[in-house]
């Protein structure tokens, strides 16, 4: 087992884990606010598309990343707006948003670029590792990774120590407590959704950077894996990051196996199912462990 194989596996795992982690940290805000966003999946897709199109149009990596975040936030705004103003069920609105994302991206792609297929973007490619000009590389990742890591760090810190974070958490624990403190929970929930949307959009943009293109359907369920990560991580930023590393490793492993020669490679497609199966299993086992621990504690304790 050569060192370079391990290094490339690690880089691949980190690259797969990073967007999931950012999306999950954003989703944490909505979970804490008591209004879990299931539109993360759609926001990732929209973010990837927005990044690729704006990146191509402007030739700028930075604008592409920004566009990704804005695109994701825009989708989230429709969900949050429907939930707040129209009293919609936030889950159903999230599902509708995911559907909308798929259709809208396809339609826009057709209208503006004349194709519903892959949209290459050199500008975004500059954010990936080992890019030609300026060849930036950190932990096997490109410059876009730094942006993502910074965003994740900011989200985590603000969640834990800011006034906004505290009020957000209060909003999610029975809105009476927040309202009695003069806080309007609906407003905080709305902002939480925007944050989650922007984070997921940026995560999508990053994914587009790593392949220097937008590929239809590239979110491929990662938004849902991010949700699983939020709970696997115990709704704490540190735990969430670790869970995402686990999931990222699963994707990297799947890719690695697919690249092998021989019998395995022929049926490589089937291996793509592995990360989802494994995530489901991890989630289930973790929940089981948590339940057992709670039972043990509950046997002696008493809910007061």
């Amino acid at each position: 087992m050569s060192a370079s194989l391990i290094a490339s596996f690690a880089a691949s795992a980190l690259g797969a884990a990073a967007p999931i982690a950012l999306a999950a940290l954003g989703g944490l805000y909505t979970a804490a606010a008591g209004s879990l966003s299931v539109a993360i999946e759609g926001s990732i897709l929209v973010g990837a598309f927005a990044a690729a199109s704006i990146g191509s149009a402007s030739g700028s990596l930075e604008l592409g990343l920004l566009g990704g975040a804005l695109g994701g936030a825009l989708l989230a705004a429709t969900v949050a707006g429907a939930a707040n103003k129209l009293r919609a069920d936030v889950f159903v609105a999230g599902l509708a948003a995911n559907m909308l994302a798929g259709g809208a991206v396809s339609a826009l792609s057709q209208s503006f670029f004349g194709t519903k297929g892959v949209l290459p973007s050199d500008a975004l490619g500059r954010g990936a590792a080992h890019s030609g000009s300026g060849g930036f590389s950190f932990l096997g990742q490109g410059s876009a990774f730094l942006v993502l890591a910074a965003a994740a760090a900011i989200l985590a810190i603000m969640y834990a120590t800011s006034v906004f974070g505290l009020r957000l958490k209060a909003s999610g624990q029975g809105s009476e407590a927040a309202r009695a403190a003069g806080i309007e929970p609906d407003r905080y929930r709305f902002v939480a959704h925007l944050v989650a949307g922007a984070a997921a959009g940026l995560a999508g943009a990053y994914m587009a950077c790593t392949v220097a293109a937008f590929v239809p359907g590239m979110s491929a369920g990662r938004g849902w894996i991010a949700l699983a990560a939020i709970y696997l991580g115990g709704r704490k930023p540190a735990g969430i990051t670790l869970s995402c590393l686990l999931f990222g490793s699963l994707f990297a492993l799947s890719n690695l196996l697919q690249g092998l020669r021989g019998q395995v490679a022929e049926n490589a497609e089937l291996l793509q199912a592995m990360p989802y199966l494994a995530s489901a299993l991890a989630f289930i086992l973790w929940k089981r462990r948590g339940r057992k621990a709670a039972r043990r504690k509950g046997a002696m304790g008493e809910s007061s």
Binding site: F91, A97, L100, G103, S106, G221, N267, E269, F283, I284
Partner: protein
């Protein structure tokens, strides 16, 4: 003097209908705008799906599997489980029915018997997949919403691989299994249109599902559990009822998958599910988890799809307009109906708060909007 607010508060059904009308209006606007404000765009979108018997029968035929999926999704929703695994259950069902027909037709079994067995195989396969999520929830508390989706994602990949690679018809350019022999496909009711026995069967299934939910003891247990699972457990309704509901939901999803294989397409193809699971779930949500209302809802969605397709052929509309319109309908309906049958709620939180004291006095407008939440996990 009593202060009274005579607020016109239309019932949930009326609000739903208004929302759908609004969605229709939006669709019309879009058709107009995208089609360059020509009336041909409107015609293409709204009228042409009905313009000929062929078009209309195609509409019905496409709505049939969607309706069956929607009926299944409704059953799961009523029990408090959000079954997001429709795609996978449909895929499993399709594969199972394809394999069953291949085997039975090779034996020379009578077509009718073979079809029946194929449908049973499809239901079993779909039920099994869905049941896993419910069983996992009982065992560990892992939310059905997440596990059903993740398993479904894996299932779709697996089935696509099987159909497109492992079981692929030799020497064919298509990523598909061998076609089902003509004698074993479902009865065509009005050739050359694609209308098959699927449409009336789907309607029958919808009616049967409705009666199951509202007029049987198990259906009552599902409703009680879905509304308040703590209450249900205290009464003696165990969480096994959710396994039943999920299994039924998956079975219907699998059944719809069999429609795809035994219907006019006549073979199992890679990617055949084509969003059917999501369409079914959306139709169920739009219909407030009511299998009867799911029939016009499925028809409505099928119409939007057909309209978008015709619009892209005859005018310049994007065929994806269908997906956009469907999501708009879903947004509008959920906004109007405050989540009718979809079952999440700050139920435990609000219930515990309400437990101490005078609930009627303390109720306020904000509480009514709180979506109901599945207990225990998320």
């Amino acid at each position: 003097m009593k202060v009274s607010r005579a607020i016109f508060a239309p019932g949930p059904a009326a609000r739903r209908a208004m929302a759908l009308l609004a969605a229709l209006a939006l669709a019309g606007l879009y058709a107009l705008a995208a089609g360059g404000f020509r009336s041909s765009a409107l015609y293409a979108f709204f009228v042409s799906p009905f313009a000929s018997p062929y078009a209309f029968f195609s509409l019905l035929e496409r709505a049939a599997p969607m309706l069956v999926c929607a009926a299944g999704a409704s059953i799961a929703l009523r029990s408090g489980a959000m079954n997001l695994g429709g795609e996978g259950q449909v895929a499993f069902g399709a594969l199972a029915s394809a394999l069953a027909i291949e085997f039975l037709s090779g034996l020379g079994t009578s077509p009718l018997l073979a079809q029946i067995l194929a449908f049973i195989a499809a239901m079993a396969a779909g039920a099994f997949l869905a049941w896993i999520s419910a069983a996992a929830e009982k065992w560990s508390g892992a939310d059905i919403m997440l596990t059903s989706f993740l398993l479904s994602q894996a299932a779709v990949i697996a089935v696509d691989w099987a159909v497109g690679t492992a079981l692929r018809e030799e020497g064919s350019n298509l990523l598909a299994m061998a076609p089902v022999p003509a004698a074993y496909r479902m009865l065509r009711l009005a050739p050359p249109s694609p209308l098959s026995a699927a449409a009336p069967i789907a309607l029958f299934i919808a009616i049967a599902s409705y009666l199951f939910l509202s007029r049987t003891e198990k259906g009552l247990e599902i409703e009680l559990y879905g509304r308040n699972s703590r209450f249900a457990r205290a009464i003696g309704i165990g969480s096994g009822i959710r396994k039943l509901a999920m299994a039924a939901s998956g079975a219907l999803g699998g059944f719809a998958g069999a429609f795809l294989v035994l219907g006019p397409a006549g073979r199992a193809m890679k990617g055949m599910t084509g969003g059917l699971g999501w369409d079914g779930l959306s139709a169920a949500l739009v219909a407030g988890s009511d299998p009867l209302i799911a029939a016009p809802a499925a028809l409505f969605f099928s119409w939007l799809d057909a309209g978008a397709r015709q619009g892209s052929l005859l005018a310049d509309l994007s065929p994806d307009a269908g997906a956009i319109m469907k999501s708009a309908a879903l947004f509008l309906v959920t906004a109007a109906a405050i989540g009718g049958g979809s079952r999440r709620g700050a139920a435990r939180g609000a219930a515990r708060e309400a437990a101490r004291g005078e609930v009627r006095e303390a109720e306020s407008g904000a509480r009514a909007a709180a979506p109901r939440r599945e207990e225990g996990t998320l």
